[in-house]
């Protein structure tokens, strides 16, 4: 039984051919990887995330190796797990095959493990084939909307199939040739080949073997050229994932004198990690499936966004061509700026626009150019990041482009000009006189902060709670509840300024930092340590983003605080109110900060409440449509996000929809009115429900 590499082909020794093929493949692969590295180097530097190593390692095991997020969609999860685990299981065999091209019968394993491993490998190869068949079904017959349908996806599936089948064929030939200790599939195949003469065996063996190694090397090189780059990059990407709550935005250093631009307008202005994210995108579309903007026909699809960023990036360091001058690359030849004969035109990353021209096929054909409306459509709900199995961060990329558009070009939805000016002058988005911020408290005997007397608890009312008539009722409900529970609290009065969430999320980092620093100064002046908020946006920003500027406070959302009071028995609920309630999870409270149970606990404590849950709840909650600064923008494209969510709530036939956020309250209330259901269904904050049961 001669090794395929020991034979001669047209006079050339098999080994020589094998060496050439191997070196060519590895050389090509290394070149491509080098280009991909150069592209990362073009991006801005951000420090490697090496904090909380234990958490990172455990996450890598849990999410990458155990494929935990993939199983949210069971069949797809099984399909991918089989292929992935199969890949890992077979890896040793693959390595052996390549080395056996030089050293016959080589093995890393001690002899007694040889046969068990072969059985193990054969079993997994069967499972891989099952996985591939499921994949064929999904891609060819079921055709879910979220996938991109490219020839390269089929190519990879076929490659994997070929690899499995050729391995069986080779094992079968070896078994037929009398080799011992092969796996059960090898033995089976060997029985099928028994009785074939040596010529036929060779005719099966040699092509199978060469096909196997060639497909293997081709596969290797296709990886960094396609969405299967994730095979190499996903495990590091999971390791380097962000551990902060989703939706937490990193500050810009606006005082950097050397900075010529802020935000991102060119792909090389992203950090290397953002570009690495783009490499890792598997085009699975799970993010797109969850996105409220996409669901309501806005130009934003998180999947397409990441693919477009990747495609745009690839243009910067084209393969097998001289580098495009002026993009910061070193050109490779070191001879200085030499004009290449054929200069591919670089597509801009962002162009003004409200609509894409209709695309053909399922794959985005934007040539790496994204229209601006894509970025404005985002509600910052984080459903995309929650769904992404490889932990791509969509929101920071969108925010980075918004920052460029707002700060550098002043090109953003016109409605926001008024919002910005109002917040600049009167510290609230409606521009109502800042002196009337605490008018709601008139006659209610609410304590104000006093210098020198640090308050035990600061009730941060927020703009909506101070000025919006509807939300003022929630403020008063909260104040009543706190008093009933004997909680000692104070308010800042008209020294409280908007926390800055709307302006930061629209992209006005400059105004945000001004507000943030002023608020921190005020809070520190009065010695505030504990803050109670009634708005998830205030909560999220004060808790997760104010520390970026030295504001470290203990922050609670009213649902957390109130459920705590209930548990401690400080609030007694006496009234029984029969109602059928469904609770809407606010994105900024729920998905970003994982506060799901406390609001539900509050409902459970109210006697007479029948609680029904919507399908899209908790981490899978569907946004009300007001996040990401969109509360301040007109929604003119597609259908309304809030109507989509309201329809889901109304389908449960509730008489009450409970919320914990002033934006959700407004959006759902509007949705109920639009559906002409305001007679039957009331939208109320949990605080209001509680206060009515006192």
């Amino acid at each position: 039984m001669i090794n395929p590499t020991s034979a001669t082909y047209l006079g050339i020794p098999g080994v020589a051919i094998f060496v050439v093929v191997l070196l060519a493949a590895l050389g090509c692969f290394c070149y491509i990887i080098y280009c991909r590295y150069l592209l990362l180097a073009l991006g801005k530097w951000e420090p490697l995330r090496l904090d909380h190593l234990v958490q990172r390692v455990w996450g890598t095991i849990y999410y990458a190796f155990l494929q935990r997020k993939m199983f949210k969609e069971p069949i797809a999860g099984i399909m991918h797990a089989l292929i992935f685990w199969g890949f890992l299981a077979v890896a040793l065999n693959t390595t052996h095959m390549v080395i056996r091209g030089f050293v016959e019968g080589f093995s890393f394993l001690p002899g007694f493990l040889e046969t068990p491993y072969n059985h193990f490998k054969d079993a997994f190869e069967i499972l891989v084939i099952v996985g591939i068949l499921i994949a064929f079904y999904k891609r060819g017959i079921q055709k879910p909307e979220r996938l991109t349908y490219s020839w390269e996806a089929w190519l990879i599936l076929i490659f994997i199939f070929i690899l499995m089948v050729t391995d069986f064929a080779v094992s079968g030939v070896e078994a037929a040739n009398g080799k011992e200790g092969l796996g059960f599939m090898g033995v089976l195949m060997g029985q099928a080949f028994a009785g074939l003469d040596i010529g036929t065996l060779k005719a099966i063996h040699y092509p199978s073997w060469w096909l196997h190694v060639i497909v293997l090397f081709a596969f290797l090189n296709v990886l960094p050229l396609s969405k299967h780059f994730h095979i190499i990059t996903s495990i590091p990407n999971v390791f380097f994932r962000t551990l902060e709550p989703t939706g937490t935005i990193k500050p810009l250093n606006l005082e950097d004198e050397s900075a010529t631009t802020f935000g991102v307008s060119k792909v090389e202005e992203f950090t290397w990690k953002a570009i690495f994210d783009a490499y890792t995108c598997t085009e699975c579309g799970r993010c797109q499936d969850q996105c409220p903007a996409h669901a309501t026909s806005k130009p934003l699809s998180p999947r397409n966004l990441v693919i477009d960023i990747r495609d745009n990036a690839y243009q910067r360091v084209p393969l097998f061509r001289k580098q495009v001058p002026g993009n910061g690359g070193n050109g490779g030849s070191g001879e200085g700026a030499e004009q290449p004969k054929e200069q591919p035109k670089l597509s801009p990353l962002v162009v003004e626009g409200k609509e894409y021209p209709p695309a053909s096929g399922g794959h985005t054909e934007h040539n790496g150019t994204i229209i601006s409306e894509t970025f404005w459509s985002c509600v910052n709900c984080g459903a995309c990041q929650e769904a992404c199995p490889v932990f791509i961060e969509h929101i920071p990329k969108i925010l980075d482009v918004r920052r460029y558009l707002v700060l550098m070009e002043s090109k953003f939805p016109e409605e926001c000009i008024t919002t910005f000016k109002n917040i600049e002058t009167n510290y609230n988005p409606w521009g109502l006189s800042y002196e009337t911020r605490d008018a709601w408290a008139e006659g209610l005997d609410i304590k104000r902060v006093k210098e020198g007397e640090p308050p035990k608890l600061l009730f941060w009312v927020g703009c909506a709670g101070s000025f919006d008539e509807r939300q003022k009722k929630v403020t008063i409900a909260n104040a009543k509840l706190l008093k009933a529970a004997g909680v000692d609290f104070a308010i800042l009065g008209n020294e409280e300024k908007c926390n800055g969430d709307p302006v930061r999320r629209i992209g006005n980092e400059y105004l945000f930092q001004t507000l943030c620093k002023e608020n921190i100064e005020t809070l520190k002046k009065y010695g505030v340590t504990k803050i109670l908020t009634q708005c998830p946006h205030c909560y999220h920003t004060l808790k997760n983003e104010y520390p970026q500027f030295g504001g470290n406070f203990e922050v609670f959302h009213h649902t957390q605080f109130l459920s705590g009071l209930l548990r401690e028995g400080k609030l007694t609920l006496t009234k029984v109110t029969k109602m059928r309630v469904t609770y809407h999870d606010s994105c900024f409270l729920g998905r970003h900060n994982k506060v799901f149970s406390e609001p539900r606990e509050i409902l459970k404590n109210i006697r007479g409440v029948e609680m029904v849950e919507m399908g899209r709840r908790r981490e899978k909650g569907f946004c009300c449509g007001a996040g990401g600064g969109r509360m301040w923008m007109d929604e003119k494209i597609g259908t309304r996000v809030n109507r989509n969510r309201t329809a889901e709530a109304l389908a449960l036939n509730p008489d009450t929809i409970a919320t914990a956020c002033p934006f959700c309250l407004t959006m759902l209330d509007d949705g109920v009115k639009d559906a002409n259901a305001e007679e039957k269904v009331k939208v109320l904050d949990l605080a209001e429900l509680l206060v009515r049961s006192l």
Binding site: L254, F262, L407, M408, E409, S410, F412, E414, C416, I417, F420, K421, T425, N426, G431, L432, S433, Y434, E435, T436, Y510
Partner: protein, 250 residues
């Protein structure tokens, strides 16, 4: 081409104003000040002319040193230079127009763009006075301005009672801006940074040699009767009666 734009520092229109104890002015403690909204529109129109016709946009404000803030806002939007005519005494529309006449003689702009009125005194005079002193055309309450190709005249559409009137005026001229002329831009960060170093000249009013003293004398300011809290009425008849006799709006 050169455009001169007037900028006035006025109290934030949203602020709840109170008459001070002396009764001749308003309480300024804690009061926010902004660029007169109509002047902002004038600045924006000037910037549009800069973009389209390469005009130089010069801002001018008359007042105390704190008007610097408003001029910087205009510079951040994109204006080229600012002039602050310092005066401590109150200036009425006539004094303002006389000072502007001197600034006009200094700068010789092709167009003077002004807000139609300042939202503090609501006089709506300065632009027209200036035009008469200079003997040049005026187009007030402009909602659209189109310059001729040779930049020697302008077609201005004005909002007047019952409709829109279009005039053709020869330059130099005074144009006062109405609400619908444009939407003022928001200053970009580079704009804000550049504003800090753009040319800024302070001229004491005395140096301009304006002899006229204000003729308008404020004797007293009074707050109109406070709005009564909202009441709910039972019948439409009651509503109509109240609207007629109490509110006097019918």
């Amino acid at each position: 081409m050169k455009v001169l734009v007037t900028v006035k520092r006025v109290p934030d229109p949203e602020a709840k104003l109170k008459v001070d104890p002396e009764g001749k002015g308003i309480v300024t403690q804690g009061l926010k000040f902004v660029v007169n909204p109509f002047d902002e529109i004038a600045i924006e129109e000037g910037l549009k002319m800069k973009e389209k016709h390469k005009a130089e946009v010069v801002l001018v404000s008359i007042g105390k040193k704190d008007s610097t803030e408003q001029l910087r806002t205009g510079l951040a939007m994109g204006a080229d230079r600012a002039i602050l005519v310092l005066t401590d005494d109150g200036a009425d529309s006539e004094v303002v127009a006389r000072i502007l006449t001197k600034v006009y003689e200094m700068e010789k702009p092709d167009i003077v763009l002004m807000g139609k009125q300042a939202v503090d005194d609501d006089m709506n005079q300065a632009g027209q006075l200036l035009a008469e002193y200079l003997g040049i055309p005026q187009a007030t309450f402009a909602s659209k301005v189109e310059l001729s190709a040779d930049l020697k005249s302008a077609k201005v559409t004005r909002e007047i009672d019952g409709g829109m009137e279009t005039l053709e005026i020869q330059l130099p001229a005074v144009i006062t801006a109405d609400l619908r002329l444009n939407t003022p831009r928001y200053a970009s960060l580079p704009g804000i940074m550049k504003a800090k170093t753009k040319p800024f000249k302070e001229i004491p009013a005395a140096e301009l040699g304006v002899q006229v003293k204000p003729k308008v004398k404020i004797l007293k300011l009074e707050e109109p009767p406070k709005r009564k809290g909202g009441i709910k009425v039972e019948t439409v008849q009651e509503l109509v009666l109240k609207l007629k006799n109490e509110a006097k709006v019918l």
